[in-house]
């Protein structure tokens, strides 16, 4: 298998092992319509294993959506085959239309045309952050 270096695009590194496809989903990146390479369960000195996502022709990534699911990831911006910037995801205080409320009694399950809104309750230190639905206060599962 040959994975060539990208010329203009982004490299999302240090993605938690096994979650690369989920990250693409949260970032609204369609793998069927995007030139990308996924490297999954690669060795990582820092985390043991990690996933890496390389996307050609894309220079923007939603750092808040990425922070929600892969807060330890890094984003390298590549131009002309050279890394020109390194970005870090931010843990969002508000999450809009990225995850859905799992509470079957929540109004979002029946009301049409409303956003899925969550707010940060606990940043979880280095662990998993806790978000709750704006409408029903159910803890977000993601």
């Amino acid at each position: 298998m040959e994975v060539t270096s990208i010329q203009n695009g982004i490299i999302i590194d240090h993605v938690p092992a096994g979650t690369a496809l989920k990250v693409l989903h949260y970032l609204h990146i369609d793998p069927a319509a995007t030139k990308l390479a996924l490297i999954m369960n690669a060795d990582s000195q820092q985390y043991g294993t990690k996933d890496i996502i390389k996307i050609e022709g894309e220079n923007h990534v939603d750092l808040e959506a990425l922070g929600l699911i892969a807060r330890q990831a890094t984003v390298d911006v590549v131009e002309g085959g050279v890394i020109v910037a390194k970005k870090h995801p931010k843990l969002p205080h508000r999450v809009v239309n990225i995850i859905r409320c799992v509470n079957p009694r929540c109004v979002t399950t029946t009301e049409r045309g409303i956003d899925q809104l969550f707010h940060l309750v606990d940043d979880g230190g280095n662990g998993k952050p806790e978000y709750r639905c704006d409408y029903c206060d159910e803890e977000a599962k993601f």
């Binding site: 509470n103 009694r105 929540c106 109004v107 979002t108 399950t109 029946t110 009301e111 049409r112 045309g113 409303i114 639905c133 704006d134 409408y135 029903c136 206060d137 159910e138 803890e139």
Partner: protein, 344 residues
Amino acid sequence: MNQPSADATASMVGDSVITLDTLSVPQINELLNKARYIESHRRQVARTCEGRVLATLFYEPSTRTRLSFETAMLRLGGQVIGFAGAQLASVSKGESIADTIKTVSTYADCIALRHPKEGAALVASRAAVNAATGDRVPVINAGDGGHMHPTQTLADLATIDQRFGRLTNLTVGLCGDLTFGRTVHSLIETLCRFGNIRFVLISPEELRTPRYVVNRIEASPTCSYEETTDLAAVIGQLDVLYMTRVQKERFFNEDDYLRLRDTYILDEAKLSHARPDMAVLHPLPRVNEIAVDVDDDPRAAYFQQVRNGMLMRMALESSVLGDELPGYEPLGDDGNDDHDDTEE
């Protein structure tokens, strides 16, 4: 010359009340004071909301709450429109909550909404704008599923305040379904803001208080709690015993409901171990968790609680409408009693 005290509820005009978290402790104290004033000045306040229309939109049955909201507006001189039961509403034709609210907002000055879905009141509050005038129409949450029921908590607070003259330095026992009981969660969270409360959480193992509610107690520097399954063992320590119904509609499994329904039944025998001035509260309706013979005991406060609910709704409706109670003197800054409102 002395300036008149500022009314802490003045800033509530046009605001929706979805949860008590959005009201400050001074505002809650002011509402309690208004309710006391209304109780003793029935004639003076009888035309406070003359010309106003309250819409009670009840998508699920709740006779007591609906009648309370409606009586509150009628006693303030306003009028009432609305429906009770989703089968009567346009929802049966597939209309969204937002569309119904936008429509009703062109008719009514204030809306009381009861809906089985959690978060419905928040959706309604965002849609409640009078299309003709652009004015916000306040929505009062009359219960959104198992989520919030702020006016019930106001009734609970008024009753405790009436019995003890304070909302701090109390031992408050909460008994029964502490998992799904929204009134319990709301009361705990609100009392934590007043501070100096010792909670005794009495429930079967399966219906214990959710972690996020316990966290709220732990976050209060002056409140504490203990959890127990034995009501008889702790009843003698309590100033307030808040009984709850195990709600069938909150269970997906009927076997669980039947097994847990009769865990705690308060009767005169149990009550004989309680303090003579303890207050027994219950959000009603009860099934069998309080024996009928307790009703005649002076410690039974649950029907008083019903009346206080109406008085608090009168205070709330007039406040969000900005209709001043004739002759009322605000508490003003004095409304900021000793409390622990760390979130302000």
